[in-house]
């Protein structure tokens, strides 16, 4: 096979074109495996905030009119502001973690940072899930206490007719509860899958580092 042999000749003559890494480059590689995972945590948190913002834009006008009419406008605004602030804070923390991990050059320091990353992600997930649960329960308690208003504006804003208030409210809360459970389940599932995978990998790296350190 002369063509393969020609390639072989060429192959061996291209040796000097190969990249050349220094001792330090290679040494730091032994430590940096975790930084790409931490980078992904940072990226995903940004993607997440964009996703929620988009979702908020998709809410139909009739539904925002309903929450405005019933007097939740200010409350929801404050909730949003708080939520975005906390979210931005976490993104900043994730970024800081990422910078830290990618500049660490001792095994001990890296292990320490991995623990910190895992802790930040844990708080982030706890915050998000708790916030969703509290918000959903809070709003529904408000609806429950103001059933007359809910029924009135449902008729005005959504054109609900031909149904008694009692039956309507039963249905309304049944749907709310179902919707709430599905939402929370989706949020939990999302975090479990996305961050779960990343954290498990980090943990594996941590164990490897531990072996090296002994």
């Amino acid at each position: 096979m002369d063509q393969l042999d020609l390639l072989k000749k060429k192959w061996q003559s291209t040796e000097q074109e190969l990249p050349r890494l220094s001792y330090k480059d290679i040494y730091s590689m032994l430590l940096k495996k975790s930084s790409s995972i931490v980078k992904w945590i940072f990226y995903i948190s940004i993607a997440e905030i964009i996703f929620w913002t988009f979702l908020a834009l998709l809410v139909p006008e009739s539904s925002t009119k309903f929450t405005d009419d019933i007097g939740l406008h200010d409350v929801l605004l404050i909730v949003n502001i708080v939520n975005y602030t906390v979210f931005a804070g976490f993104i900043f923390l994730f970024y800081k973690n990422y910078r830290k991990v990618s500049t660490t050059d001792t095994i001990k320091g890296l292990m320490h940072n991995i623990i910190r990353v895992r802790r930040t992600v844990k708080y982030f997930v706890i915050y998000n899930v708790t916030a969703s649960v509290v918000l959903i329960i809070g709003i529904n308690i408000y609806y429950y206490l103001n059933q007359d208003l809910v029924f009135q504006y449902m008729r005005e804003d959504f054109g609900v007719v031909n149904i008694s208030q009692e039956r309507f409210m039963n249905m309304f809360f049944a749907i709310q509860i179902l919707f709430g459970i599905v939402m929370i389940a989706l949020v939990l599932l999302f975090y479990r899958i996305v961050y779960g995978i990343l954290l498990r990998r980090l943990h594996k790296n941590y164990k490897e580092l531990e072996k090296i350190e002994i």
Partner: protein
């Protein structure tokens, strides 16, 4: 002790890094993937280093671990996404800017080699590295006869790809 081990490992890898670069070039299509694979191989080598007893040459041991890493990693990425960066596929040939036929043939050959399956590629890689069949069989953990037979089949395959 740990520091000593680290130092001896990094020094030897630094000396022999060409081997890893060549494997990366063959198994990946762009610079990012190249760097990722290099790092992955480095980590696998480091993890296996305590078991390296020195009864074979460091470079021989490196060929084995590095190829194994490339093969398993390649398998994983094939399961997920197969991206082909055709820019990256082209073989770096520095000399003549004009594409004459011989050079074209060489490029085709190279991309045919890159398209081989992971195991065959490892075999061709060692062949290109001018290893004899005994060394190839040792590195890949197959018998010498098997290596010979496989290599002949690959050559046949490449022939049919290039001259259909």
């Amino acid at each position: 002790m740990n520091k000593e081990l680290e130092h001896s490992f990094v020094t030897q890898l630094e000396e022999n890094q060409n081997i890893v670069h060549k494997i990366c070039r063959l198994y990946t299509n762009d610079q990012d993937a190249h760097n990722d694979l290099f790092q992955e191989i480095t980590i696998q080598l480091w993890r296996a280093f305590p078991k390296f007893r020195g009864d074979s040459k460091f470079s021989t041991w490196m060929y084995r671990v590095a190829l194994n890493t490339a093969i398993t990693l390649y398998r994983k990425s094939k399961r997920t996404i197969k991206t082909q960066d055709y820019e990256g596929v082209s073989f770096k040939i520095s000399s003549v800017p004009y594409d004459d036929t011989a050079e074209q043939q060489l490029k085709l050959m190279y991309s045919a080699v890159k398209d081989l399956n992971d195991i065959d590629k490892a075999l061709v890689f060692l062949y290109l590295e001018d290893k004899n069949y005994r060394e190839i069989s040792e590195t890949l953990g197959i018998t010498e006869v098997n290596a010979r037979v496989k290599m002949n089949r690959i050559k046949e395959k490449l022939r049919t790809i290039l001259n259909p």
